[in-house]
Amino acid sequence: MIKLFTKTPERLKENSYVRFVGADFTDYVKEGDTFKITRTQQVVYEQAFIIPSSDYTQLDLSSETTTSLGLYPTGLDTLYEVLIGFKGGKDILVYPQIPAGKYFARLEKPELFPNFAMTQLRYLGYYDVLTTPHDEPKLRIYTIKDLEPILFVVYNDGPDYEKIIMKFFVNKCLMERVKPEEVPMAEVREIIHYEALRW
């Protein structure tokens, strides 16, 4: 459900299928649940942040609070497929967490998890404007209602204030539940739970 590609991935289209795997996602989307995409709408959404040098902010991508970015659906039948690209902020490092406080990207050696306060761990498990530029976004997330919030820890590693513009290409997908056995495996896009992706 969080994936960095080598090139911009194709979006989900009408009449395609998705299957949620790896673990139960929410109370109503369980492991193995399969859905047909019946309608889509593409929405471009941008937010900018100005961060002082050696400082950070935390962005909540969910729709849970008044200050969160609203990148989670509020309807049970909606899936958001979001491509994320960055502009500006060449020294800004973005570390995803899900759930809050737990970094998504890490290596298996126990102490190798992102920590921007330590120079030897600062450049681990981050995204920046080079890894996912706004005109060719390579970072994709999937969100559904009531999923644990994804957080972005946004750290300025540069010597001055920096502005980063985050461009979100939101593909709103209306889903219709189908029986898994009725859908050929080859036609299904699997959405893997974050805990299964973080081994």
Partner: protein, 110 residues
């Protein structure tokens, strides 16, 4: 590329305001000082940072991006090639109120 001409003013003159989802870049700078005295021009960027761990209630910040002194009767021209970034509002401040000192700023948004 857009451009704007302002006169030297100690209170400052707004040259342009960068849209929230863009980064402003000054690409060209010309100062024609026909005033009776030397004038120092300051290019100031004013913006309000995002609330951060280090400052949860940020207020507007002024960052001087460039300061140039041009002697009386002289002019200064620079093709900047975008190395002066403006992330908020660009204000031109002169060391003297002088209608005879004109500042031309070329800029674009990315």
């Amino acid at each position: 590329m857009a451009s704007v001409v302002v006169e030297s003013a100690t209170a400052g003159k707004t040259a342009f305001t960068t849209p929230t989802n863009k980064i402003g870049k000054i690409t060209f700078l010309e100062i024609d000082n026909q005033h009776t005295a030397d004038i120092t021009i300051t290019i100031r960027d004013t913006f309000t940072p995002t609330a951060t761990a280090g400052n949860t209630s940020p207020t507007a910040v002024n960052k001087d991006r460039k300061v140039i002194t041009v002697k009386t009767g002289e002019s200064y021209t620079e093709k900047v090639d975008g190395y002066i970034e403006i992330i908020g509002t660009c204000t031109i401040i002169g060391s003297d109120d002088a209608s005879a000192c004109k500042i031309t700023i070329g800029y674009e948004f990315e």
